[in-house]
Structure formats: C-alpha cells, structure tokens
C-alpha cells in the first residue's frame, strides 16, 4: 500500500530562520511527487512536481528535492506570508490517476 508521512506535524520559525520539511514515502513505482501549499479555509495550491531522484525545483524561497525514499521542502529566509500547511503527495505508476497525500506540515513564521 502506498504511504506518505510528513514531518514535523507543525513547525514554528522566526522570520529569516531557514529550515526543511520532510516527506517520506513508500510507493510501488514512483511516477511523480507533488508539493502543495494550503492556506486556512482554502484548497491546496500546486507548488512543484518532482519526477526522479536527484531532481530539484525552486520557487522564490522554496526549494524541493527528491531522493528514492523522501523529499525535502527547504525554506530559505522565510517570511510571515510563507505560513501555511504544506502537503506532499505521490503518484504511482499503478493507479496513476490517483494521488496519495501525507497529513501535511503546518508552518508558522513569526515576524
């Protein structure tokens, strides 16, 4: 059974304090790994897709990386507007129409 585990569940940082969020996965053949951002009371918003181990993608203060067992979302010099819940999801080759989501990491950036 495909599984995604995110850690930590919650993370509180000071503005400018860099850190990383972890997404560990077990999947029978990874087709792709997705990162989404979710603000309170809203739907998830797409950030990145990673396809293969070693791949990296960046967007503003965020950088996502992928290994064969996990993905990291690195946040460099975060600002309060980066506060949100970050969701990780995997898509397997089998049952490729579906995404399996982790439970998310709730990130709070204090000014």
């Amino acid at each position: 059974e495909d599984q995604v585990t995110q850690s930590p569940e919650a993370l509180r940082l000071q503005e400018g304090e860099s850190s990383s969020l972890n997404c560990s996965y077990t999947v029978s053949g990874l087709r792709g790994l997705f990162w989404y951002r979710q603000d309170p009371g809203k739907g998830p918003e797409f950030l990145f897709t990673l396809y293969s181990a070693g791949e990296e993608k960046e967007k503003e203060r965020l950088k996502a990386t992928l290994t064969k067992k996990e993905s990291f979302l690195h946040i460099t010099a975060p600002k309060p507007e980066d506060s949100a819940t970050y969701l990780c999801a995997v898509q397997a080759f089998q049952g490729a129409q579906k995404l399996v989501f982790g439970q998310g990491t709730r990130l709070t950036i204090n000014p």
Binding site: V4, F34, G41, K42, P44, T49, L87, A96, Q97, F101
Partner: protein, 114 residues
C-alpha cells in the same frame, strides 16, 4: 476564468438527511476528483472521473455516490448522512494526457452532520 468552484461552502445536516455537493470547472479538464480532508489524516480520495459519463471508486467511497453527466460538472451525493461524514470536501480537476499534470483544487465545502 473561475477555475474550480464548489457549492455550497458550508452545510449542516442531520443524521439520515441527504444532500448533493456540486463541483464545476471551466478549464475543460477531463479528470475530476472528490476528496475529504480530516484533521491529522490528510486528503483522501472518495471517487474520481476520467471523463464525461465515467466514474470510479477511490480510497474511501462508502456512503457516497457521484455522477459526471457533463464534462464541467462532478456531483457528490450523500444519500443518508452520518456523523462520520463530517469533514471538509474538496473537488479537483486536471488535464488528461500527461499523467503528471497537476490537480487544481476548489475552495472546499465544510459539512457538519449532527
């Protein structure tokens, strides 16, 4: 371009009542999905559709039915609501073709079953 919209935004039901949640998208996407989101459990797939007139079961389909009569609409029905169906429901859609096309999500419907 409204993207993915969901109706209603909030609803309170009594146990045993029925209701239909409506999802509409104006992006001409072939694939549509219904998820539920519960605290500490992440998003779980209820049902999905790969095209007009087709539907398939996801991870947690029991107690729900769906219909995709028009390409732009995907309806989720609860025939006899139960307190365990209290949740936030999200609809999503994506383009066909490249299986790694991202899903676009609606704003959600918060449902409480008393």
């Amino acid at each position: 371009n409204a993207g993915v919209t969901q109706t209603p935004k909030f609803r309170v039901l009594k146990t045993g009542q029925s209701m239909t949640l409506l999802c509409a998208q104006d992006m001409n996407h072939e694939y549509m999905y219904w998820y539920r989101q519960d605290p500490g459990m992440g998003l779980r797939l209820i049902h999905y559709s790969v095209g007009e007139g087709t539907t398939a079961k996801g991870e947690v389909p029991d107690g729900y039915n769906v219909s995709r009569l028009k390409k732009q609409n995907f309806l989720l029905g609860l025939e006899s609501a139960a307190p365990s169906q209290t949740s936030v429901y999200f609809c999503a859609s994506r383009l066909a073709g490249d299986l790694l096309n991202e899903q676009f999500f609606g704003p959600g419907t918060r449902l409480t079953v008393l």
